[in-house]
Amino acid sequence: MSAPSGITRVTLLKDLRLEWRSKDAVNSMLFFSLLVVVVFSFSFDPSAEESRQIAGGLIWVAFLFAAVVALNQTWAREIRNQVLDAYRVSPAPANSLFTAKVVGNFIFVSVLEALMTPLFVVFYRLRSLGPVWQLALVAALGTWALVVNGTFFAAMSLRTRSREIMLPLLLFPISIPALLAMVQATTAILNGEGARFWMALLASYDLVFTTVCLLLFETVLNAE
């Protein structure tokens, strides 16, 4: 067991170091979601009460679009210098690579969320009526759902023409139930209502799709 987890760790550390030096993904995601926040607040101009109703949707749409920016870059750097081909001929298990990429993207998107949330609170005069730890849990579960499917579909769209367009086309339809659950859970917690059904749904969505992506990733990586 130590070998696969070692590969995961090395790949993850490499991605984190690359990101730390270039800050490509996080910077572009941050700026992108900042733009979304500004455009939305111009077009809605909500009061505090209204913003509590619509904030869940706005936040997650901003994060979803921003995550696509990062996910599109995730495999691109492995294409340069044929790193991915080298990986495919090496005996290293494909799932280690996949896990490293998913965890890496999860960290990037979480950093984005941590930085953007205060801005949302300020711009939309948000004040949660429910417990904040539940919001954090929903954020973690929701981000995981986006990132697992996103990493998988990004690997898939590598093999297609116009791959940058392909990723959202594949990711958004499959993510609709997860997105609905995230938005509903966030809105419910912000309004001080219970969100247990939505959190359970998100958790089971995460479980099912993580399992299936792990099962299918090797096939997709080696597809010829």
Binding site: N149, F152, M156, R159, T160, R161, S162, M166, L169, L170, F172, P173, I174, I176, P177, A178, L180, A181, Q184, F197, W198, L201, S204, Y205, V208, F209, V212, C213, L216, T219, V220, A223, E224
Partner: protein, 230 residues
């Protein structure tokens, strides 16, 4: 096999005409909705056929992932294509019926929303098939089909919970339906399934032929690299 195709074609045509007669003439007019209710005989059979085709798509995708058999891949492709067409028919006939009966074209109700999401998932499947090239297409498509099919229960549950307060527009549920209506519905479903099967079959033959042509071209250019291929 070659003779069976025209025979099935004629049978399907006869069945479709008979089903049309059943739906428009034999089935009684619904009391409150009037004649517009007759779209039900096209709407519901299309929906059942589309769901059946999507299910076959899922089954043959799983089979392809296990056995890597080209026939299963063609079946999956064909079922997705024809299924999307039937699902489109459902999404178009629904609003035509809803406008006079509910007074609105569209509502974000459970059935409507989940059918729309299903349609979106399979359109994205067709996009993937269109945009990816070469030998890996069947594998990628099969993986997406499995994920898409797994998504269906989540769609259903999430939207079910999302819209439980709304009245459910269940039509013709259970024993309240007139037996002549039920008869017309089932005949129509049979006719639509035969029609779908016919279309799938001819699309299957077309796809198989076009793959054989591609293969022959590739083979020819391998054997004769001088350029006279094509």
């Amino acid at each position: 096999m070659k003779k069976a195709f025209p025979i099935l074609g004629v049978l399907t045509a006869i069945l479709l005409v008979y089903a049309l007669y059943q739906a428009l003439v034999v089935a009684p007019t619904e009391q409150t909705m009037g004649a517009v209710q007759r779209i039900f005989y096209y709407h519901v059979p299309s929906a059942w056929t589309a769901f059946l085709l999507f299910f076959i798509n899922f089954g043959s995708s799983v089979y392809y992932l296990i056995k890597r058999c080209a026939t299963a891949d063609i079946v999956a492709l064909v079922c997705a294509e024809v299924g999307v067409v039937f699902c489109t028919v459902v999404l178009i006939t629904g609003p035509i019926w809803a406008r006079p009966v509910w007074g609105i074209w569209w509502t974000w109700d459970m059935r409507l929303t989940s059918t729309l999401v299903l349609w979106l998932i399979y359109v994205s499947y067709l996009f993937l098939r269109r945009f990816s090239s070469g030998g890996q297409t069947p594998l990628l498509a099969a993986a997406l089909a499995v994920l898409g099919a797994l998504c269906v229960p989540f769609v259903y549950f999430s939207i079910w919970f999302f819209r439980t307060q709304h009245p459910q527009p269940v039509m013709g549920g259970g024993g309240s339906i007139d037996p002549r209506m039920m008869h017309a519905l089932l005949i129509n479903w049979l006719a639509f399934s035969c029609f779908a099967f016919l279309v799938c079959w001819s699309r299957y033959r077309l796809e198989k032929l076009s793959r054989e042509v591609d293969e022959a071209h590739a083979m020819q250019s391998l054997l004769d690299p001088g350029g006279r291929a094509l």
